[in-house]
Amino acid sequence: MAFQRRNTKKRFYQRRKVCRFCADSTLEINYKDGKALRPFITERGKIIPRRITGTCAKHQRTLSTAIKQARTIALLPYVGKLS
């Protein structure tokens, strides 16, 4: 009985997210373009994990360095404001 119930509970599934940098190779990750990095940080300025954005490991790595570089030169905030 218990086994069955778990099965029904697990039924919902999510659409597989695709890394948008793999899908479109013309997209480049560059720290100088702060606006392009905006979708990958929260309002508070935190880097969004790849399990949410769907970015692949390789691109998430370059993305996180780019975001950190952009923060250093004040293109992105370390601590964002609640807006």
């Binding site: 720290y31 570089q69 030169i73 370390y78």
Partner: protein, 157 residues
């Protein structure tokens, strides 16, 4: 030789002349230390993501150049000494670059840029001619045509 990219934020409230002198100073240091300036990009005044030295705006400048480690230390020492620079960041682009090849590429880029400019000007000069042919004097038209012809020749080369 290595390729570097340095972004620095200059004080936004500087006079134009002072700012020019400041940029010249850093360019001179670059050349003195044996660096090759590939690109000097002035982004202008931009809003900062957070305040630096009580300022919410900054004048961004991006320099791309070839150089060695000693050049970086000297340049960054000067950035630190100068009050007019709010912040700087240097990034390594390529670890091994041939100085001669870099120079050649810079020349080629400059040439391409000049050609593009000339082309744009020619197009600009031709546009009003097409719109109002009566207003322009025949002499001006002739010079425009000659310019366009020389441009084409350059392209052929």
């Amino acid at each position: 030789m290595r390729m570097y990219e340095t972004i620095f934020i200059a004080d936004p409230d500087l006079q134009d002349e002072v700012r020019k002198d400041l940029f010249e100073k850093f360019k001179n240091i670059l050349v003195q230390e044996g660096g090759i300036l590939a690109n000097f990009d002035d982004w202008g005044n931009k809003k900062l993501a957070y305040e630096i030295a009580k300022k919410s705006r900054g004048h961004y400048v991006c320099m791309t150049y070839g150089g060695t480690g000693t050049l970086i230390t000297e340049l960054e020492r000067n950035f630190r000494l100068d009050d007019k620079v709010l912040k700087y960041m240097t990034i390594l682009l390529e670890k091994d670059v041939d100085p001669e090849a870099l120079k050649q590429q810079i020349d080629a880029d400059a040439k391409a840029e000049a050609e593009a400019k000339a082309e744009a000007e020619a197009a600009k000069a031709e546009a009003p001619k097409a719109e109002e042919p009566k207003a322009e004097e025949p002499k001006a038209e002739e010079t425009v045509e000659v310019e366009a012809a020389t441009d084409e020749k350059e392209e052929d080369k």
